[in-house]
C-alpha cells in the first residue's frame, strides 16, 4: 500500500511539473493506465487491511483458507495495478502496452479472493441465521 501511495505522490509530481510524457494528449493512455495503477493499488491495500480486520468474524476460516485468500489478494495487488502500470510504460495510441495482460489475471485473482472470503463469511453466519447451532 505504501508503494502505491508513493506512486500517487509521483503522479502528483508529474502533474506539478507538467511532465509531457504523462500529461501530453498523445500520452493520454499512459496517464489513464498509471492513474488506474495508483487507484487500484491503494484500494487493494485497503482491502488487505479490511480482510485482516474481518478475520475475527470468520472463525470458520482455517489457516489454509486464510492463506489462500491472502495469496490471492497479494496476487491481485501485484498484478492488477502492476499490469496497469506496465501497460502505461509503452503505449500505442489508444492501446496500452503488453503489460496490460497482467491486469485481468490480477482481476481474476481478486475475484477468487472475494469469492473465498464471501463463502467463508456465509458459512460463519449460517449457524446464527438458521439457529442451527443449539446447545
Amino acid at each position: 500500500m505504501l508503494g502505491f501511495l508513493l506512486l500517487g505522490l509521483g503522479l502528483e509530481l508529474l502533474h506539478g511539473f507538467k511532465v509531457g510524457v504523462y500529461l501530453d494528449v498523445q500520452n493520454e493512455t499512459r496517464r489513464l493506465m498509471w492513474t488506474l495503477a495508483h487507484a487500484h493499488g491503494a484500494l487493494l491495500g485497503l482491502v488487505h487491511i479490511a480482510f485482516a480486520l474481518s478475520l475475527p468474524s470468520l472463525p470458520s476460516l482455517d489457516a489454509l483458507g486464510r492463506a489462500r485468500i491472502s495469496w490471492c489478494l497479494i496476487g491481485a495487488t501485484v498484478l492488477l495495478p502492476g499490469g496497469f502500470f506496465a501497460g502505461g510504460l509503452r503505449v500505442y495510441g489508444g492501446d496500452p502496452g503488453l503489460g496490460i495482460v497482467l491486469a485481468p489475471i490480477g482481476g481474476t485473482s481478486l475475484l477468487i479472493a472475494v469469492f473465498l472470503a464471501a463463502r467463508a463469511s456465509g458459512s460463519a453466519e449460517t449457524p446464527r441465521g438458521t439457529g442451527g447451532r443449539r446447545d
Partner: protein, 669 residues
Amino acid sequence: MTARRGPRPEPPSGPARETSADGLRPHLPILLLLCASGALGLTAVLSFAPAVPESQITNRPIEVDADGYVSSEACQACHPAEYESWHGSFHRTMTQVATPDTVRADFDAVRVEDTHGEPMVLSRQGDEFWAEFNDPGWEGAADARPRIKRQVVMITGSHHQNIYWYATGHDRGLNILPAAYLLSEQQWVPRSAVVLHPPGQSLAMLDGHWNAICIACHTTQGKTAFDTPYRSEPFGSQTIDTTVAEFGIGCESCHGPGQAHVEANRNPLRRYGFHLDQPQDGERTGDPTIVLPTRLDPQRSSQVCGQCHSVWEFYDQADERIANAAGLPYRPGDELRDTRFVAQPTVDRTSPAMTAFIETDPDFVRGSFWPDGMIRVSGREYNGLLDSPCFSQATHPDRTLSCFSCHEMHKPGEDTRSVADWADTHQVSTDAQGDQACLQCHEPMADQVTAHTRHGADSTGSRCYNCHMPYTSYGLLKTIRSHTVSSPSATESVTLGRPNACNLCHLDKTVAWTADRLDDWYGTPAPALDDDDRRVAAGPLWLLRGDAGLRAITAQAMGWSPAQGTSGTSWMTPYLAEALGDPYEAVRFIAARSLRSLPGYATLSYDFVAPEAERTDIAVRLMQAWRADPRSRQRREPELLVDRDGLPRIDTMRRLFDQRDRRGLFLRE
C-alpha cells in the same frame, strides 16, 4: 373516475411513535443528502434540452453514416493525439452548424448596411440566429427583389472569415447570407467586399449554391442529391436531399471511409499484431483497411490534398450526376485525374477539355491563373505543386516534393507549439519553417548560402522561401506564398504582370534594377523594359499601373516587415493612401491594413466599406499630414516619384494612374 380517499388514520402515539423518530434521526443526514442529490438530478434532467436528432432536421443538409463512413468521432478512442490536433485544425471547422458555440459574429440586433441596396438586420431568438435581408437568390428584376427573413443554419470558414448560410425554406437548400464576418476585425461587411471582383459586378448568390458547389470541398463525403441537375429547372421545383458524412474536413476525407477499419480493429489481437510489427527493413506494413497518405508515393499523397486544393471540374455532366447521387468517387490513394479534370494551363491550355471549359466560362483560366498558367489564388496549392520542378521533374520518391514535405496534418508530440499555433501557421512542420524545407534535398546549398543568394546569411533575402515561393497568390483578403517553386525574373513582371520576388522586398527599386542584378548574378536574360520599368520603383509602379490583383499584392507587400525593413516606409504613405480610394474593396482593405503597420498609423480609423466621400476625406487628410511631416522628405530618389524637395510628382503619378490596367478581374479563390 377518481378514487376518493378516506379519512387519514391518526398517527400512532406514545412510545411507538418516539421509537420510530428516534430510529430515523441517525439516518437524517443521509436522507437529506439523498433528497438533495435527487433534487439536483431532477433539476438537471428538467433543464436539459435534448438536441433534435439530426435525422429530424429538414431545413439544412444533415450528417448521416453511410457508404462506410463513420465520422471522426469513431477515431478518437484509438488515435487520441491525432484526433486532438485534427480537432484544433481549421479543417474540422471548415463547415459547422450554426449554434451558440460556433457562431462568432454578433447577431444581437446588428444592421449591416448596403447589402443589395438595403441593410441586413440580424437577430437572435434563443439559440437560433436569424437575418432579414433582400433575397440574394432572387433572379427577377432587381427592383422587385423581395425582403425575406430566414434562419442562419450553417457557417463556412473559421480562420479569417465566417461565411453564413441560411435555410432557403425549400428542402435542404441553402444560400449565402449577403454579408460576411471578418474574424480579426470583428466586422460585418457585405459579402461582395471580401472577394476581389470588379466593382459594380454583382456576385452570384444562388439558392442551393452550398448544396451544389461548396459541399464538395467543405464537407466529408457530401451528396448534393438534387433530383435533376442544379439549375436545370427552377430551384423551387427541385427536390434536394443533401447529406454529408461529416461537416468540415474529417479524418475520412484523407484516410478514406473508416468503417472496415473500425470493425476490423475491434479485435485486440489484430491491433497488437500491428503494434508489434517490426519488419527488418524498418518499413511497417500498415493496416490495409485504411489509407495513410504519408505512406503513399509523393504523387498520390499530394493528390489527397489536391482533391480540394486544386482547380478542378467534372469531365462531363454524367460524372456530376454520379457525384450528385453517390458523392465524389475519388478516394485517398486513387489517381485523382481518373475521376475529375484538374486544370493545369501550363500544359493543357489547348486540350479539348480545357477548350470546352473556356468556351462556357471565358474567365475559367484568368480568374485563377497568371497568364503563364501559374496558379494565382489561394486554396489551390496542388496546382502550384504540379508545376514545381521539385515535383514534376523529380526522379526518386525520396527526393520528390509533396505537400507533406512541408505540411503535417497532425501535430507531432515533439512539436512544442500549441495546437492553436500549429493550426494558425498552416500546419507547416517546425522543420519546414525555414530553409530546412528546401535543404532536405538541396543539401549543398547549406554551405553556400551567401554565394548563392548574394545576400547576407541572416538576411531575409537569403531565405529560400522569399525568393522561390514569393507572395504572389491571393485569397481571403491577403496574399499567400506561391506554391509553384520558381526562380525570380524581371520577365515575369514585364510580360505577365506578376510581381517578381526581388521587387516584392525591394519595392523602392525599379524592375530594371532587378533585371540587371539577376543578369549579373545568375545570367538571367533581361527582358525589354519600357521607360517606366527603368525609372519608376516597382512598388509605386505596380500600385498605380497594375491590375487589381497586382495592386492587392503590392499593397500587402508594403505591410510585410521584411519589405519594410529593406525598402523603408517613409515613402509608402501616399501610395497606400491612394489605394484607400481603390475601386476594389479588397485592395482598399489590404492598403488600410498595411498603412496601419507603418510607424505612426497604427490607430488609423478607416472603414473600407464606408461611403466613398468618407474614404476620400480620410485619404486626403492622410496626405496632408504626410506632407506636413518632415520625415516624409527622408527619401528623395526620383524612382519613388518625388522631386528634389521630397514632394510627390503628381503629374507622373497621374500619368501612371491613367495607364492603369482597368480590365475587370475576379479572382476565384
